[in-house]
């Protein structure tokens, strides 16, 4: 190198490119070569490279261990219930009465309750969700789209306890009066609420699927004289079908796993509705059972183990649903990237051997669920479909058909917007009078009827900060290892599968784990620390996946460019890959913060108390938290109307504010960088 350096000034004696070229100061003379090119320099460099690699490997391993430990721990604690009842009795028994004179631990009723509520929710969410997705992807002008899309994402930002609160105060009273029943707390109320809660998932995933249909398909159809609706109906939706299916399944997973909203509006009687289609009957879900009973159970009793059994059943259902979505989404990916090498985490031979059984099992379970839901959805939209079909069949002009169809699409997005509007309007108008400086800073008095929510706000912030500090380093580290240091193979695939499973795990299950392992087994007690770790575990999979997505979106050509300049692996990651990935990572982190701030179920038994005059002085003390405070005010304290709304509004503003930041960051950078 020195040689060529010397050749520059006196080389060929020609001046180049017309301008005077300053003699390049040699990089080599910078003292760095003494360090970097020498043996010790190289040793130092290799040490750093290997150190970084090991560090990320450890985080990845920790993540996967945590994931599988949670699963293992739940099963371990559920197993002793087989001393009291057989597995068959447990699953098929129709009576759930763990505190009776002769306790009965049959979860069949609870499973039915979960299924019924989910089916009802899907009957509402599927037509509205797909209609809204079609509207946003195909019909909305860019300006309308820019409003409608974030609006639906905001719907996802409303914490479940706020939904539950709204359902309890507004929805159930409305049902009671409209349907003339003694109580509005019912299957129907649960389904309506869960339907609304599942909407954002269904809309955004479907919309992505529709938007991903190649333009050429649409243009080809339009060029042959098909109407826009015909094109949507016969070309675009069929092409996006698997994506839409995955969206529905993910939405279903959300509905199955929801706890707080269901507890607050579904009535919670462990009975099978009689007759089975009686939507005004109260029902109790698996999640609801955990939320209600876990706090009061005697540790180590048969009831305690039975509740873990319930959690395992819940987890199994959620697992099947999410695995189904994962398989479908993966199929789509493979179809789209035909050249990509398939990642396999089972040997082909093993895979072939178990494939028929795995597919049959998963297929049967999914088909049953899908049939039920889609059946219900079909009933709910019968009129619309019959009308549309009649129009098409009678060969009333394509234009009229389009008008009717678009009418339905507009109706669905309008309904979604109305839902959003009503919820926000109710909480904001009723909440604003409660807001004052005292309310935001003072501790509560008279069981929260008077005074403020200061300690709850601070407690929530503490919990969230602790959760993100736990999840972010581990999650980002694991994602870096997965995406940058592995070239496919079984271990990363195992970690990814684990993260996906954990992602689909209902939040109450984390609460259960945190309670049994952190609070009891490790003897943390109900404390800030236990809550932080539980919430951290809950958001860990989200952090891993969003970070991985962000890293994946950085094109390989950039990495190659950096390597070709002689940068090391870590230098490339640190200087070249991470900086453009930061917005994506940040968005994921902020969304996780929002989720952690709004969740109630995981902290229910691990971290919170209802009333605490002073702020915690150490992480071993329990705290107040906004979602829990709202839950207790709404369900256990009569006559706290104003402070309820005030708390709901503060929580809503906090979480929505966090989501809004994430959305703004994402939209800003999406515009700025196109590869």
């Amino acid at each position: 190198m020195q040689k060529r350096q010397a050749a520059v000034p006196n080389g060929n004696g020609k001046t180049r490119t017309g301008s005077t070229i300053p003699e390049l100061p040699s990089v080599i003379g910078d003292g760095f070569d003494a360090l970097h090119n020498s043996i010790t320099g190289r040793k130092y460099r290799n040490l750093r490279e290997n150190g970084m690699r090991s560090l990320w490997f450890i985080t990845a391993i920790f993540a996967v261990l945590a994931i599988f430990f949670i699963l293992f721990f739940l099963v371990l604690n559920a197993y002793p219930i087989t001393d009291s009842v057989s597995i068959y009795e447990f699953l098929a028994g129709e009576t759930w009465n763990p505190s009776g004179a002769s306790p009965a631990y049959g979860v069949f009723t609870l499973i039915i309750g979960t299924l019924l509520v989910t089916i009802g929710a899907m009957a509402i969410a599927i037509p509205l969700g797909i209609g809204s997705a079609i509207f946003i992807a195909e019909l909305a002008s860019p300006r309308v789209k820019n409003i409608a899309k974030p609006a639906i994402e905001l719907l996802a930002a409303i914490p479940s306890v706020v939904y539950g609160f709204f359902g309890l105060i507004v929805l159930t009273s409305w049902l009671r009066v409209t349907c003339n029943v003694p109580s509005g707390e019912s299957w129907l109320a649960g389904s309506i609420l869960l339907g609304i809660m599942a909407l954002p998932t269904i809309v955004s995933v479907s919309e992505d699927a529709i938007a991903a249909v190649p333009r050429g398909y649409k243009e080809g159809s339009l060029a042959m004289g098909a109407t826009h609706w015909q094109t949507i109906q016969r070309v675009i939706v069929p092409a996006a079908f698997s994506g839409i299916t995955a969206a529905v399944i993910l939405g279903m997973g959300r509905a199955i796993g929801e706890t707080m909203a269901v507890i607050m509006v579904a009535g919670n009687a462990a009975i099978i509705p009689d007759p089975i289609w009686n939507v005004l009957s109260p029902v109790r879900t698996l999640t609801g059972t955990l939320g209600i009973e876990m706090g009061e159970v005697a540790v180590g009793s048969a009831h305690y183990h039975a509740l873990f059994g319930v959690a395992v059943v819940l987890l199994a259902i959620a697992l099947i649903v999410n695995l189904g979505a994962r398989v479908i989404l993966k199929k789509i990916q493979e179809k789209q990237t035909a050249t990509g090498t398939r990642r396999q985490w089972l040997r082909p031979a093993t895979k072939d051997a178990i494939r028929p059984y795995a597919y049959a099992g998963m297929g049967a379970a999914l088909a049953a669920l899908l049939l039920l839901t889609v059946g219900a959805a079909a009933t709910a939209t019968t009129i619309a479909i019959v009308l549309a079909l009649a129009l098409v069949k009678r060969k009333i002009s394509a234009k009229t058909g389009q008008k009717v169809a678009f009418g339905l699409v507009y109706a669905s997005i309008t309904m979604v917007m109305i839902f959003l509007g009503i919820i926000l309007f109710d909480i904001i108008t009723n909440g604003i009078p409660a807001l004052s400086w005292e309310f935001l800073t003072e501790p509560p008095r008279n069981l929260g009827r008077e005074g403020g929510i200061g300690p709850a706000i601070v407690g929530t912030l503490y919990l969230v900060a602790g959760a993100i500090l736990t999840a972010l380093p581990i999650g980002i580290g694991a994602a870096i290892y997965l995406n940058e240091y592995t070239k496919g193979g079984r271990i990363p695939e195992l970690i990814r599968a684990g993260a996906d499973l954990l992602n689909g795990t209902p939040s109450i299950v984390f609460g259960l784990f945190g309670f049994a392992f952190l609070v009891l087994y490790l003897n943390f007690g109900v404390s800030l620390l236990a809550g932080m770790i539980t919430l951290g575990l809950m958001i860990l999979p989200t952090v891993i996946r969003t970070t991985e997505e962000a890293l994946k979106s950085i094109p390989d050509s950039l990495r190659e460019g950096s390597f070709a300049l002689g940068a090391t692996k870590w230098q490339t990651i640190w200087r070249c890959v991470l900086p453009p990935a930061v917005p994506g990572i940040l968005t994921g982190a902020i969304l996780s913060i929002g989720r952690a701030a709004g969740e109630t179920a995981p902290i229910l038994f691990t971290a919170v108390v209802f009333s605490k005059r002073f702020l915690p002085t150490s992480v071993t003390e329990p705290v107040m938290a906004l979602p829990y405070h709202l839950f207790i005010l709404a369900t256990n304290v009569p006559g706290a109307s104003q402070n309820q709304y005030g708390t709901a509004l503060v929580l809503l503003l906090l979480v929505m504010g966090i989501y809004l930041i994430a959305i703004v960051i994402r939209n800003h950078y999406q515009k700025a960088i196109t590869w």
Partner: protein, 254 residues
Amino acid sequence: MQNNGNILTTRDVNLHYGESQALIDVSISIPKNRVTALIGPSGCGKSTLLRCFNRMNDLVANARITGEILFEGTNITGPETDVVELRKKIGMVFQKPNPFPASIYDNIAYGPRVHGTRDRKKLDAIVEGSLKKAALWDEVKDRLHESAMGLSGGQQQRLCIARTLAVEPEIILMDEPCSALDPIATAKIEDLIDELKKNYTVIIVTHNMQQAARVSDYTGFMYLGKMIEFGETVQIFESPQEEMTNNYITGRFG
């Protein structure tokens, strides 16, 4: 044409991607301070061979290489080779311009920085010098701190060349550097290559035979992983020894 000696020599290089063999018994010598072009139809292995020279094939999961590649007398195919050091000395420009999503200045300073240069004045001088060598200085000197993503395709490619020069390599590998560019931008890059060979050894892979004839001193024709013929460009294009080379350059296949 006088030969200054060879800077790179390959001996019986074979390369497999999994089951399929991409290079078969390639043995050539690349002369120093000259432009060498590798030509051949798609899939003939010319890019693969190029990527062997700075070990970019390490990034491909299942690539296996046998044989020797001697750079300044040392074999660089073995595990004991420090690939980071190697890539400092053998830089690469890619088919599609791949500037980092950072400012023009930071793109050029990236290499020197990862190799330990911190001094602002030195970096300034390196950036200016590299951009001048890449004939880009006059076009960008007033907006060094704007994003490199805002440059045109041809400017981006010259930026990538400047970025490579900033590390002061001895060899510059170019993998179809003009295939994503328009004719005017291509002409600028070709002029630049002509300038570069005074101080650097350039190895360029190209699809475009006219380009190979215009810019190179030596040419290797590859077909199905084999080096069919290697020699001075004039000789390859005017009196090829092999039937296959003749067929290819006269456009009978490929």
